[in-house]
Amino acid sequence: MERARGSQLASGLLPNQQFDPHLMLQQLKSLLIAFAVLAGGLALGRHFLMPKTFGQRGHYRAAAVDAIEKQPVHYAGREACAACHPEIVDRHSKARHQTVACEVCHGPAAAHTEAPTENKLPAPRTRGYCPLCHGYDPSRPTGFPQIDPVAHNPLKPCITCHNPHQPEPPHVPEECSACHGEIARTKAVSRHALLAFTQCHNTPLQHKVTPRLVRPDKPRTREFCGGCHAQDARSPKEIPRIDLQTHGSRYLCWQCHYPHRPEGD
C-alpha cells in the first residue's frame, strides 16, 4: 500500500516527469526502504506468532473449543446414579420428588461415580436445607408446598417425618395452609379471615392424598356470594350488602373482588 501511494505521490505531484527509478527522489527511496523493512518485520512476526488453528471455523482459534470440551464434568447427571442405587432411584422416580435430580441434594457426583468409596457424597440432614425450596416465600408460585420453618414441628429434622426420596408426608396435612400458604396468609389478614376454607371450597378428602388428581371445587355463581352479601341474605347485619340485580351485573363477583382479600381492609 505504501509503495503504491509513494509512487502515486511521485508521479501525481510532479506530473511533468516520467516515472523512472533512476530519477526517483532520494526521499522516496529512503522512505520505501524504511517502510519495506517495517512491513517485512511485521509480516515475519505475524508468520511466527499466528495461532495454528485460528480461522478454521470462524474468526477464532478452533483449538479453544477443544480445550473447553475437555473441561471436567462434576455433575454426573441423574442417569449415572441408577447403576448402583437402583432401588432408591426407582422409588424416587415415582415419588413427588421425581423432578428433583439426585445431585440437587447430594452435590456433584462425578468423582463419586469414578471412586465410590473414596468420594462419599453428603446427604443434608439438617432443618436448614429443605426450606431452601419449601420454606414459605411469597415470591414462590402459589400451590408449591411451603411450610413456615419456625412454626412447622420446631427443631425436628425434616427427615424424621419425610423421606426425601419419597417425601409424601406420614399423614395427610390437617390444614389447607400446609400447601396453600400464600393464600392462607393473605386471607388471615383480610376481612374473610374467620371464614373456613371449606366455606367456599368443597374439598374431597382424597385431595389431601392425591392433590393433583382430585381438586376442590370453587363457587360458580353470583348467588353464592349473595348468600352473605345480598340485600335479603340471612347473615349478620355488619356484613356489607349489595343489590345483586344492579351491582356490576355483567361480572362475576371474583372478577373484581379477590375473595381471599376483598378490598376495604
Binding site: P51, F54, R57, G58, H59, Y60, R61, A63, A64, V65, A67, I68, E69, K70, Q71, P72, V73, H74, Y75, A76, G77, R78, E79, A80, A82, A83, P86, V89, D90, S93, K94, H97, T99, V100, A101, E103, V104, G107, P108, P131, L132, C133, G135, D137, P138, S139, R140, P141, T142, G143, F144, P145, P211, R212, L213
Partner: protein, 264 residues
C-alpha cells in the same frame, strides 16, 4: 409437576398431566421399561465420546418464570461445575427476586446471586405480584460481545454457544461493556473475561447444563432449537415466549415463559 403453576393450567399442562396419569396406571410395566432405559443411559455415560458434530445442533434454553422457586440450586451447581469464583461479584447465572408494589413499582434483589436462597423480605407497601427470575448469558444469535472483541477471543460456535478463549483473551473488557445483560465478568484469577458456556463440556457429552440438571422444578429446559422433539421445542411450542431486551436486537436464545414487563 406443573400443577402448582400460577393461574389456570394451560392445555399443555393438561396433556402432561394426563400423560403422567397414564404412566401411573402403567406403573406395573414401568420397572421393566425403566431398567431397559437405564442400561442404555449408563452405556451412553460410559461410552467413549462419539464423534460430536457441532453442525448438527443449535442450542437454546427455556426458562419458565412461573416455575422458579428461588432455591438458588442452579447458581450453586453452576459455580461447582464451572469453577466460578465463589465471591458474590462473579456469576455465570444468578436468580433475581422481583417484588412489585401496589403502585406498580418494582423492587429487585439478588443477594449473593440467590446462591443461598432469599431471606424473607418484609414489604411495608404491600405486594401486587412477586416472582423469581433466573438469569444467565442469553447466548445471543447476534452477540454484541463477539462483535466488539478486538482479537477474536470470544466467538459463537457452530452449535450456537458463545464461548471465551482462555488462551487468547487480552482482558480488555470491551465485551463486558457490550453485554446488555450483565452476563460477563472478569475472572479475578486469570484477568480474563468469563461467562456461561451452556456447560459446553457437558453438552458435547450428551449431558444437559448443570443448572438444568439440578433445577428441582423444571423451570429450566435445555435442548436443540431446530430439533422438533426436544424439550425446548415443546417448551417454545406451548408457551408464549419472550426474550430479554428484544429492542436491542441481539436475538437471545434463552427463551422466557411468563416473563413480566418489569424484568430487564
Amino acid at each position: 409437576m406443573g400443577e402448582w403453576k400460577r393461574d389456570a393450567r394451560e392445555p399443555s399442562e393438561q396433556i402432561s398431566g394426563s400423560r403422567r396419569e397414564f404412566l401411573h396406571t402403567c406403573s406395573l410395566a414401568a420397572p421393566l421399561l425403566l431398567l431397559g432405559l437405564r442400561a442404555a443411559a449408563v452405556e451412553a455415560w460410559a461410552a467413549p465420546e462419539a464423534a460430536y458434530n457441532a453442525r448438527e445442533h443449535y442450542y437454546g434454553m427455556g426458562v419458565d418464570v412461573a416455575r422458579c422457586i428461588g432455591c438458588g440450586r442452579c447458581v450453586e451447581a453452576c459455580k461447582n461445575e464451572n469453577d466460578v469464583p465463589r465471591e458474590p461479584y462473579y456469576f455465570r447465572t444468578w436468580v433475581e427476586r422481583y417484588v412489585v408494589g401496589p403502585a406498580g413499582e418494582a423492587e429487585v434483589d439478588s443477594p449473593n446471586g440467590g446462591i443461598a436462597g432469599f431471606p424473607p423480605k418484609p414489604s411495608e407497601k404491600g405486594v401486587l405480584r412477586t416472582f423469581f427470575v433466573p438469569k444467565l448469558c442469553n447466548q445471543c444469535a447476534d452477540p454484541p460481545c463477539v462483535q466488539v472483541c478486538p482479537v477474536g477471543a470470544t466467538f459463537a460456535t457452530e452449535d450456537g454457544v458463545v464461548l471465551v478463549d482462555r488462551d487468547y483473551c487480552i482482558g480488555c473488557r470491551y465485551c463486558v461493556q457490550a453485554c446488555p445483560y450483565g452476563a460477563r465478568f472478569l475472572d479475578p484469577r486469570t484477568h480474563m473475561a468469563d461467562k456461561c458456556t451452556f456447560c459446553y463440556h457437558r453438552v458435547v457429552r450428551g449431558l444437559v447444563p448443570a443448572c438444568v440438571e439440578v433445577c428441582p422444578t423444571g423451570a429450566r429446559v435445555f435442548g436443540d432449537i431446530r430439533q422438533r422433539s426436544s424439550p425446548l421445542a415443546r417448551f417454545t411450542r406451548f408457551n408464549k415466549i419472550m426474550t430479554l431486551k428484544p429492542h436491542l436486537n441481539t436475538k437471545p436464545k434463552v427463551f422466557y415463559a411468563a416473563l413480566d414487563q418489569e424484568v430487564r
